[in-house]
Homo-oligomer: 344 residues x 2
Amino acid sequence: AHILLLPGDGIGPEVTAAARVCLEAAASRAGLSLSFDEAPFGGAGIDACGSPLPEETLQKARASDAVFLGAVGGPAWDSAPQRPEAGLLGLRKALGLFANLRPVKVMAGLEDFSPLRPERVRGADLLIVRELTGGLYFGAREEGRERASDSCVYTAEEVTRIARVAFEAARGRSGRVTSVDKANVLATSRLWRAVVEDVARDFPDVALDHQLVDSAAMALVTNPARFDVILTENLFGDILSDEAAVIAGSIGLLGSASLGADGPGLFEPIHGSAPDIAGQDKANPAGAIASAALLLRHGLKQAEAADRLEAALEAQLRAGPLTADLGGDSGCAAFAEKVAAHAA
Amino acid sequence: AHILLLPGDGIGPEVTAAARVCLEAAASRAGLSLSFDEAPFGGAGIDACGSPLPEETLQKARASDAVFLGAVGGPAWDSAPQRPEAGLLGLRKALGLFANLRPVKVMAGLEDFSPLRPERVRGADLLIVRELTGGLYFGAREEGRERASDSCVYTAEEVTRIARVAFEAARGRSGRVTSVDKANVLATSRLWRAVVEDVARDFPDVALDHQLVDSAAMALVTNPARFDVILTENLFGDILSDEAAVIAGSIGLLGSASLGADGPGLFEPIHGSAPDIAGQDKANPAGAIASAALLLRHGLKQAEAADRLEAALEAQLRAGPLTADLGGDSGCAAFAEKVAAHAA
Ligand SMILES: CC(C)[C@H](C(=O)O)[C@@H](O)C(=O)O
Ligand SMILES: CC(C)[C@H](C(=O)O)[C@@H](O)C(=O)O
């Protein structure tokens, strides 16, 4: 299989290198041969080609089996005509990556990294399924200094396909979907709720409940273990997935998968580019490694290799040494080497 | 001064009665004479007059010096043609209540109610200033089962007036405003950010920073004590203020004020109508009492009486007994009587 690496900006290149080492170890153990290419993207794309998503990068992405992204953005491009993040939004749209999956799990024995009291967070293991190519992110906009507008549009088709992803995922988990919307205010949320109800009829084995987004934002803090799969639209998913992420203790730990109907998926850690620590071998590669496991699972359909890499990561997180964000003194590369050794 | 009470639904009437007892005690101590009237609103408005905001209720609200609201909504009106919450949105718009203030304070000694680790939550004392009559809440909508849309519009004028409220408030606090937006995606957020920068020039004594909403949702959990005033638009404010509220330990503890340029303000606890415990004297009246204090402070400009009532509430929360949601065995009315006795 052929993987395109988009190292991106800040700590992106370091964590991408870390993910690659682990991918190679897990793949060779599974008898799978991987080839890699790299392309400029985000701020690095702006610097190299004047665009956060250079045409050649997009072509390489389309031709790959899976795309791995490190991180994009940083103050270096604050006054660039295009933002590095525009590359990310463009890539999501161009590859039709409508389903963003963010698993958040508090690993047994690692509850102490969470800002929540251990008894609150124990057992939390949830999956956020976020719609990624619709809503306010991609609606018509009017820019202006006197008046500005954004529009949020959803079609039944868009809601149906993301809802199916959530219900399918729930089947392989605890069998519960919580659909989050703001149906007491928004027309798109009322459509959302009605369509999700329709889809639910095809999944009688999955339990569905609906929750308003403000209430869900509370419940994630008071009782994260109540959730199994959270299904939500693009902007709510952006907010709730970051909120949920910190509950696991560090956004450095979590990965994400963005999938389309066909074609390559995009796999990236949920942390940002952290320009303040870039190039110092201080980044936590765990999120990138978790994303590499998602790449194996969803991108290459190598469930066993994915399980193996996840177990290797968990073992190393338990054994330590950890990176500085988790109070340890390991470098980024050394941590990844150890995980790769477990996975090999 | 003349106060209109809108007891509303569920536990609304109980907590409204509790707030009234405390308002009367604090006012008589301050030599202030208060008169009260009551009107149907929310589900109670639908039941009594077929509308969640009956015309007569609105007229009484306009004629009052301040409006106190208990809570609205509940499953009883799930299939009503209008939702009880529509009354709330209608009242906000009709009275021009563009500024929603939600103070969130973790009282010393009461950190144990928070789901966060005590060392995380210690010292948290923030004020959310939420724009309340613009954005997605009041934009044009298209309802539909195949396609639906909502639009988000902001004008420079709307942003300016809410930003001024936040900067003024910061002056009386720690002098810091964090403006929360999604400027890397939304046109309205870019307008928001630019206008907030303009307003900041009139407040050189106040420090301003900007934070993306996803990042703010994380920071509220990891480090709530970093915030002083959070300034944000309507929907982000809805989500973040509920998230922030649980950090204080119980949404039963917090009050809110919704203010316009002139005319009466609306004061209400942030909790919902909790139909499951309605009529059982089990509700926590602390949020309603905190709202009564905000009514004294912002509605009637009685800062001393407000301070006194807040101190009385804090003393009673420390001394107990507390209501069931906080693990105690006090009834709603008994708790309020004790606060009133402190305040008298
Ligand atoms: C960088 C930004 C545009 C992006 C988003 O809002 O989707 C990010 O926050 C994310 O969640 O992947
Ligand atoms: C009831 C609902 C319409 C309302 C809102 O979303 O504004 C509530 O959640 C609030 O925050 O006051």
